[in-house]
């Protein structure tokens, strides 16, 4: 009779890699997309603002599972250059990235706007172009300001990665699910174990990075317009 430790081991061995892969690539894609959208929203002309906020509204209204289905089943040839077996993972990463991008755009937009406008003035008064000022002065501060919200987004993405089980990818949730289906008396234990695993991956990060950064920001007196 396998004990809790065996169950943890099974889930980790079979599922952790894909969970982390999906989370990392989903977050990365969302980061790049989010920054571009935020810049469009803060500095762009009317059309860019319209595009960017339209995208956000759209992506925030569609459940992640539906997004995954759209790319995995609705558009099976989307990743035509990939091996058939790799396409589901690509679909999930795309869905996660597109969704996360919409939320990260909000985070970065808020962070950029929180940086005191006098900073931009001072940078330009020195002779920096708007682009230089943004890269050297605004962005570094905005990124620091974004960390607490960002750790929250990380928690959301890692939990959303569990939806990948619906398209056959073996990450932590699917591993726990398979265990339960194979050995029905282990259901409670496996679901409990995977829940604990997700918690272990989210709570300490939020505490460690999120709260520590908030304290650091207060010390530097940054942000707060």
């Amino acid at each position: 009779m396998p004990d809790l430790f065996d169950i943890f081991f099974y889930i980790i061995i079979h599922g952790l890699f894909n969970t982390l892969l999906l989370t990392a690539l989903g977050l990365l894609g969302g980061f790049l997309l989010g920054i571009i959208l935020a810049i469009m929203r803060v500095y762009g002309a009317k059309e860019l603002i319209w595009l960017s906020s339209g995208y956000e509204k759209l992506l925030r209204g569609i459940p992640i599972l539906i997004l995954i289905f759209i790319f995995a089943f609705g558009m099976p040839d989307l990743f035509w250059y990939l091996d058939l077996l790799d396409r589901p993972i690509a679909s999930v990463i795309l869905a996660l990235a597109l969704r996360s991008g919409a939320y990260q755009s909000q985070i970065f937009r808020g962070a950029i706007l929180s940086v005191n406008p006098g900073q931009m003035e001072a940078a330009r008064a020195l002779g920096m172009s708007k682009v230089q000022a943004f890269r050297s002065i605004i962005m570094p501060q905005a990124l620091r300001l974004a960390v607490p919200s960002w750790t929250n987004e990380y928690a959301v993405v890692i939990k959303d990665s569990s939806f990948a089980y619906a398209v056959g990818i073996v990450e932590m949730t699917k591993a726990a699910y398979d265990l339960g289906v194979g050995f029905t008396n282990l259901w409670a234990l496996s679901i409990g174990a995977v829940a604990i695993l997700y918690f272990l991956f989210t709570y300490p990060v939020a505490r460690l990075f999120g709260e520590r950064q908030t304290k650091k920001l207060k010390k530097l007196g940054m942000g707060g317009g």
């Binding site: 008064a125 020195l126 002779g127 920096m128 050297s136 501060q141 010390k219 940054m222």
Partner: protein, 253 residues
């Protein structure tokens, strides 16, 4: 130059010249357009109409390299506007590195020299949040100085400071003026104006109402508005007798 925001006419045809080593003080009531004037000069907010010439070059027609020209005009802000994520030394050196493309070591050396000039060398590795208001403003001055601009604009540099910190900043500004720095200073610190300015300009309602040497203003100002303004200000600056007079008047009434 002329400048309006929506329907509000802030500057209605303001004009003056500046020679090297001049220290011109612009003063007047709030809302008169003083800050706007400075921002028009360095084209942070270009005027709607008019010209701005820096050493013969018309800034209004230099959109292409306005940034390079703006680097020749330094600015010190009322609220310091230091880069909070950078230490003092980096605040001062970043202009040299990004705008003048100096190598890191040389930029750091020059930044240290500038900090020495404002007497803050020991605080080089501190962040702005760890500095007092007076120290932050001095870093701001060092940041402008290190770029070796043709002129430095000061936008009410001491207005946001606690009274006991104003002195150290004014002292630095005095040193700069005596060393021959070309300065345009918007301020209420008429003591400073009296000590070093070559000309004072009274700005009210978007026009220069009166201009002249400090002696002119403090002995025989022409306009009634100027006299009234100076009167109000003198209460602030050691017009001790004035205050007593006023309070006696109230008691009698």
């Amino acid at each position: 130059m002329w400048k309006s925001y929506d329907d509000l006419n802030v500057l209605k045809g303001v004009s003056f010249e500046l020679a090297q080593r001049d220290v011109k003080v612009i003063f007047g009531p709030s809302g008169s357009g003083k800050s706007t004037l400075l921002r028009c000069i360095n084209m942070l907010e270009p005027p709607d109409k008019g010209e701005v010439y820096l050493s013969g070059q018309n800034l209004m027609e230099s959109k292409a390299n306005i940034n390079a020209l703006r680097a020749k005009i330094g600015m010190v802000f009322q609220h310091f506007n230091l880069f909070s994520h950078l230490k003092a030394i980096d605040n001062v050196s970043i202009g040299l590195r990004r705008v003048k493309k100096l190598p890191k070591e040389e930029a750091r050396e020059r930044a240290l020299e500038a900090l020495q000039r404002v007497r803050l060398a020991e605080w080089a590795d501190h962040y702005p949040a760890e500095l007092s208001g007076g120290q932050q403003q001095r870093v701001g001055i060092a940041r402008a100085l290190v770029m070796e601009p043709d002129v430095i604009l000061f936008d009410e540099p001491t207005s946001a400071l606690d009274p006991e910190l104003i002195g150290e900043v004014l002292q630095v500004m005095l040193d700069l003026a005596k060393a021959g720095t070309t300065m345009v200073v918007v301020t209420h610190e008429l003591g400073f104006a009296r000590a070093v300015s070559s000309e004072m300009l009274y700005l009210d309602g978007g026009v220069i109402v009166e201009r002249g040497t400090p002696e002119h203003f403090f002995t025989a100002p022409k306009s009634e508005r100027v006299r009234r303004f100076l009167n109000q200000i003198s209460i602030l600056y050691g017009g001790h007798e004035k205050l007593l007079e006023l309070s006696k008047k109230e008691k009698n009434e």
